[in-house]
């Protein structure tokens, strides 16, 4: 079974802090994704990575950056957290060989005070 893990289930940070969210997958998938989920807005793609050190912006990249130094790990970075980044963050991974079927991690509920 595909396993996608995220570093924290719940996180509370203060405005202006630098925040790192980590995601690890164990299925050698080449694709990894970061989404955020907000009430009324649904799930929206922040960033996508299709290979080590490769990334593409999604629908809402402003205020975020990403890092993919190893194939299994994809990090989301909030350079200076703001209250409007309070959200549920979901990481996913997939492979082109299985039709881009995406598998999600448990999510991180981030609160920025």
């Amino acid at each position: 079974d595909v396993k996608v893990t995220q570093s924290s289930r719940y996180l509370v940070k203060r405005t202006g802090e630098k925040v790192f969210l980590e995601c690890v997958q164990d299925m050698d998938h080449e694709n990894m994704f970061w989404y955020r989920q907000d009430p009324g807005l649904g799930l929206r793609l922040i960033y996508f990575s299709y290979d080590v050190k490769m990334k593409e912006k999604g629908d809402i990249p402003e205020g975020y950056s990403v890092s993919r130094e190893k194939k299994e790990r994809f990090s989301l970075i909030l350079e200076s957290a703001s209250t409007n980044q309070t959200s549920m963050y979901l990481c996913a991974s997939s492979s082109w060989t299985s039709g881009n079927e995406q598998f999600f991690g448990p999510g991180t509920r981030l609160t920025v005070l």
Partner: protein, 114 residues
């Protein structure tokens, strides 16, 4: 971009009842997935079904790609089936969409009462 509409938005059932959830999409797709979001927020994969019919226990799904809709059937519902069900699609390249991002519907909130 591609539009994904799910119906009904809310559904309340008694345990043991059957239900059908619908997903309409506005353009051709490479990928269609059904998810169940559990109370802790995790998206659980139910089906990867860009076309055809699949069954897994009490759940089954059918996608008619030519008519741009998918159906999720839940039979003999249980209280543990409660939660939000999402349909998500990846547009086909020829339709002008990106070939990686999933576009999600707004979901169907299912409540199964004992």
């Amino acid at each position: 971009g591609i539009q994904v509409e799910q119906s009904p938005p809310d559904l309340i059932l008694q345990e043991g009842a059957n239900s059908t959830l619908r997903c309409n999409f506005s353009d051709s797709v490479n990928n269609l997935q059904w998810f169940h979001q559990n109370p802790w927020g995790q998206l659980i994969n139910l089906f990867y079904i860009p076309s055809g019919t699949k069954q897994n226990g009490r759940l089954s799904a059918t996608t008619v790609a030519t008519e741009r809709y998918s159906l999720l059937y839940i039979s003999s519902s249980q209280t543990t089936d409660s939660g939000v069900y999402f349909c998500a699609v990846e547009p086909s390249q020829h339709s002008g969409g990106s070939n990686y991002k999933l576009t999600f519907g707004k979901g169907t909130l299912l409540t199964v009462n004992p």
